[in-house]
Symmetry: D3
Subunit: 224 residues, 6 copies
C-alpha cells in the first residue's frame, strides 16, 4: 500500500501524523510512504530524517494525497483538501460530530474514513484517544489554576491554600483517562477534589490509587 | 532515698507507677524501693517480679507511704491517703486545677508535690504527659466513630463514606501531641479533617507529614 | 409494567427500595410506580417527593403488592407478606440460604425472585452487593477497635499502639470488596494487617495500593 | 497608644494591614485604632465592620498617619506619605534593600521603622515573612507551568509528562518556607524536582517529607 | 491417577514440587501420591509429614517415576531421568527453548509435557510463572545494588544517593510482574527509575501505583 | 595559616580531605594550601584542578605535613605519619576510642587534634558525622539483604517477601541519622521494620515520616 503523510494545515497545528520510527515500521512491512516536504518541521523532524527511515519526500500536499492509497493525518481534512479525498482511506482524528460539511463531503467522496478517536480494543478502551486524554486531563487543572489567579482576571484563589486559607475545591466530571489525570494534578496541587462518574468501578479505582488524598471520589446519581 | 510505690486506689485505675525495670534502675543508683503487695496485679506484674528486680514488698499502703521519702504514684492522692502526705515528696499526675481540697491539704502537709504533667524539657516539650496524650489522641476518633454509629444511638454516619456518600468531616482543636495523633487516626479512617491551632509552626508540620491526605490543616484566628 | 414499592417492615430497617430519582427513571421508561404511603419516611423522603417524581401513593402495603407486577424491596419478604407473593416478580435482597421457610413459600407461590446479591456483570463482579460490602468492610475494623477497648469489656488494646506499645495485629479473611475496605480502615488505624485470600491476583492488587503500608498481604494455602 | 491604619496606595495592592479581629485585640489591650475610610474595601471589609470591632474611622490618609503614634501598613511608604513619617513608629513590609530614597527619608524623619520581614523568633524563624513565602512558593510552579505552555509562548512542555514523554525537570534554589512550598507543588504536578540549599538539615527534612517523591533533594556546594 | 514426586536432582535445587497440603488435596480428590524418600528434605519437609498427608513414600527416583502416571517436578528432566519419561505426563518448569536435547528426547518418548511457565488463565495471565517472576523481580535490584558497591568490584554507587550525591538511575525493561516488582524495590531503595514497555496500559498502572514516586514510567517506541 | 592536604595512605581509602572548592574558599579567606601531588587521584581530581583553585602542589607527604600549620585529612594518622605530628593542628576523623597507640602519640606530640566526628552545632547535631552516617545507614540494609541471599551463604530470605511468603523482620537499633536512613531503606525494600531508641522524640519523628509504612517504630525500655 502507498501511504501519504501530508503536512498539517490547520492553524497552530505543529504535529505530524507519522514519525520516522513509524515510517520504518511501514516500510519494513512492505509499504511505501510518501511524506510531504517539511511535514515534520513543526516537530523538529527533517526531510532527511524521514528519508533515512525509508520515506520518499514529495513536493506538494497534492502529491502526498493523490499518489497514495491511504492518507495518515493528525487533524480532520480541511476544505483545501476536500477535492483529494475521492476513494482514499483517510486515517486521522475526524471528530465528525462537529463537522457537518466535512461529513457530507466524505460521504459523497466514497472515501473510507477511520477516526483515531473511535478505535476500540476488545476491552472497550480507546488506545488512540488515551494519549490525547492524558494531555488534556493533566493540562486542565493547570489552566484552571492559572485562571483563578488575580493577575489573569480570576478571583485570586490558590488551589493549595496556605496557612489560614483552606484549599480550593475542584470538581471533576468523569473518571476516565482524562478525569483521572486531572484528578492526579488537582490532588498534587493540594485542592479538595471531588470526582463524579456513573461507573462505580472507575471511582473505586481512582479512590484506591488516591486513597488518603482524594477522599471525595464517589458515584453521583444521574438525573433523568 | 527510700521510694514507696503504693497500690493505686482510684476506681478503675489498673496501672502501677513503677515497673520492675524502673525498680532495678532505682536500686542500681543506690535507692531502696518499697512496693505495696499486689500493687502490680492490675498490670500483670507479680510481687515476685518486683522482688527479683530488687524491691522490698510491704504489706500495707500505709507502710509504702510512711516508710518512704518519696512516693511514686499514678493518680493524685485520695482522701484515704491525705494523712500520710506530711513532708513527703509526691511524684504523680496531680492535675490540681480540678482538685481544690487536695491542693489545700498538700499545702498544709508541707509535702513537695511534683506533677508529671508539668515536667518540661528545655525545649518546652512535656515528656511525661506526651505518652498519655498519644493514647488520648489515638483513642478519640475511634470513640467518635463509634458514637456516630446508628447502633450506638448516633446519626449513622461512617467517617470514611462509601461510594455515593462523601466522607464525614472531623475538626480537631489543637495540633499538639494529642491533636496530631487524633489527626493521624481520623485521616486513616478516611474522614475530611480540619486541624485548628494558634501555632502555625505546628500546623505546618502536621500539614507536611499528612500532605496529600489532610489538606485542611490550617491556622485559625483567635477571637478576642 | 406496574412496580410496587412497599414500606419495609423488618425491625430497624429504615431504608426504602427506590428513591425519587429511581421513580423518575422508571416513569421515563414508561412504567407505573406505586409507593406505599410513608415508605420513605425512615430515609427522609416524603410522599410528596415521590409524587413529584411521578409515583402514585397507595394507602396500604397490600395495595403496593397486589396491584403491581414487580415488587421492589430492600429486605426479604416476611411472613405478613407471604400471601401476596403469588405470581409476582420480587426484586430484593433475598439471602435465601438462611431462610428455609421463605424459600418454600416462594417456590409454592410461583413468584420470580431476583436476589440483588446474585446479580453479576459479565466480568463476575456483583454490582448490587458491592455497596453493602463497602459499608460492612469499612465498619468492621471500627467495631473491632471498639470491642478491644477496656471500657467495652475488651482487653484494652489500641490498634495503633503508642510509643512503647506495638500496634495490634489484624487478620482479614478475603480480599474482595469487603476485605479490601476493611484492610483500608485497619491500615488507616495503624494496625499490622494480614490479608488472606486464595486469589493471588486480588492479593497483588491489595498489596499494590497499600504498598508501603500493608506489607503482609499475601496468599495463604487452603487446608483440605 | 494610637494606631493608624491608612488605606494602601501602591498599585494593585488590595490588602489592608489590620483586620477587625486585630482591631478588637488592640482595643482590648487599651489602644485606640484609627482606620482610614474604605481602607478595607479591597479585602471586602467595610467601615462598619471596623467600627463594630472598636475602630474609629477617619476621613483621610493624612488623619490616619498624623493623629497616630504607630502606623500599621502592608507596603512600604510611598513618596506621597514621606512627609508624614516624622517621629512615627512605622510597622510594615519595608524591603529597604531595594529602596534607597525611602531609606534616606526614614533616616532623616526620625521615625522608628519595624520591617515585618525582619522579625525573628528566638529560634531564628521569621513569623511575619512565612505566610508570604507560602503564597510565593506555592504560586511559583503554577506560574512556571503556565509559562511553559505553548499557548503562552513557552516551549510546550507539560511538567507531568505523559505516556512517552518524560516529566520536566524543576530546580528549586533554597529549601526554606518558599522553597519547600514550591517543592510540594512541583512534586504534586509530577515534575522531577531538584532542591538546592547550603543547609543540609533543611534538605534532609524536605527529603523526609517528600521521600518517595522528590528523590533529588540534595545539598549542593557553594561556589566561592 | 497415580502421581509421582521425585526428589530434585539439579545442582543447588532445594525445592520440592508438592507440599503436604498439595498431597492432601490430591488424595482428597481420589488420586494416589508417591513421594521419593527425602524429596522434601531441602525444604524442611520430612517423609513423615508427607505420610501424614496421605502420601506413600517410595525408596528411589525410579520408583517415583515408573510407578506413576503423572510426574510432578520443579526443574526440567535431566539426562539421568530421560529413560523414565516414556508415556508419562510430566508437569514441571520445562523452559524448552534452552534445552534442545531434552526437547528431542521428550518428542521421541511419547510423553505429555505440561510446562508450568506456559499455563495461561483466560485473561492471559500466567499463574504458575508469576510467583517466580515476583522473586526474580524483587531480587534483581538487590543484586544490582550489591554489584554497584565498591567492595564487590563495582563503581561505588549507592542507589539512594546521600546529601550532595544524587540517587542513581535504574532502567527496567518490561512492566510485567517481574518488572513491576523490580520497580517497587528500586523505588524503595531510592533510585530514579525508568520503566520501558510497549504496553501503555501496564505503564499507566505502574505509574498509578507508584505515582509520586516513579514519575519516569513511560512508553518507549519500539525500533524496527 | 598554611594548610596541608596529604594523600591518604590507609588501605582502600580513595577520598581526599579537601576539594578544589574547599581550596578556593581557604585561599579566598587568606590562607595558603599545600596539596600533596596526586592526593586527589582516587577521587578523579588532578593536581591541575587544585592549582587552578589556588593550591600549591608539593612533592611528598612529608612536605604537606611539615610545611603546614594545620593538616586536613580523612583518616586518622598512621604510624608512618606519627613523627610529623609535633605541634600541628590535625583536623580529621580520629575515632581515638579504637586507637590507643595513636592517642598516646598525639598526647606526647603536643599536637591539637580536632576530630570531625565530635564537632557539634549548638543544637547538638554532628554536622561532619552526619554524611558518613547517611552512607552507613543507607548501605546497611543493602548489605543485610545481600547476606540473607542463599547464594551468599544466607538462609535464602527475601526482605520483601512474595505472595505466600511474609516479608522479613528488620530491627534497627538507634533512630539517629544512620538509623533513620537504614529504616528508610528497609521499609523501601518491603521489610517489617522495628526501630529501637531511648529517645521518644526521635521515634515519633521516624514514625511520622514513615507513618503508614513503619508502624513498629517505638520506644523500648533500657535494661539496667
Amino acid at each position: 500500500m502507498i501511504v501519504g503523510v501530508p503536512k498539517e494545515i490547520k492553524k497552530d497545528e505543529k504535529r505530524v501524523a507519522m514519525t520516522p520510527v513509524g515510517v520504518a515500521a511501514m516500510v519494513a512491512h512492505g509499504h511505501k510512504v510518501l511524506v510531504e516536504t517539511s511535514a515534520g518541521a513543526g516537530s523538529q523532524i527533517s526531510d532527511a530524517d524521514y528519508e533515512e527511515a525509508g520515506a520518499t519526500i514529495v513536493g506538494t500536499a497534492k502529491d502526498a494525497w493523490m499518489k497514495a492509497d491511504m492518507i495518515v493525518k493528525v487533524k480532520e481534512p480541511l476544505p483545501a483538501e476536500y477535492d483529494w479525498m475521492n476513494d482514499k482511506i483517510i486515517f486521522t482524528y475526524l471528530h465528525l460530530a462537529a463537522a457537518e460539511e466535512l461529513t457530507k463531503r466524505m460521504v459523497s467522496s466514497n472515501c473510507i474514513g477511520i477516526a483515531y478517536e473511535t478505535i476500540e480494543l476488545t476491552d472497550g478502551t480507546l488506545p488512540l484517544l488515551a494519549p490525547m486524554s492524558e494531555v488534556a486531563g493533566k493540562l486542565a487543572p493547570q489552566v484552571g489554576a492559572h485562571s483563578l489567579e488575580a493577575s489573569s482576571g480570576g478571583p485570586g484563589i490558590l488551589l493549595a491554600g496556605v496557612s489560614g486559607v483552606p484549599p480550593a475545591k475542584v470538581t471533576i466530571i468523569g473518571a476516565g483517562v482524562a478525569g483521572q489525570c486531572a484528578c492526579e494534578m488537582a490532588v498534587g496541587l493540594g485542592a479538595q477534589v471531588t470526582v463524579l462518574d456513573v461507573n462505580p468501578a472507575r471511582l473505586r479505582y481512582v479512590h484506591d490509587i488516591h486513597r488518603g488524598e482524594n477522599r471525595d471520589a464517589r458515584e453521583q446519581s444521574r438525573k433523568y
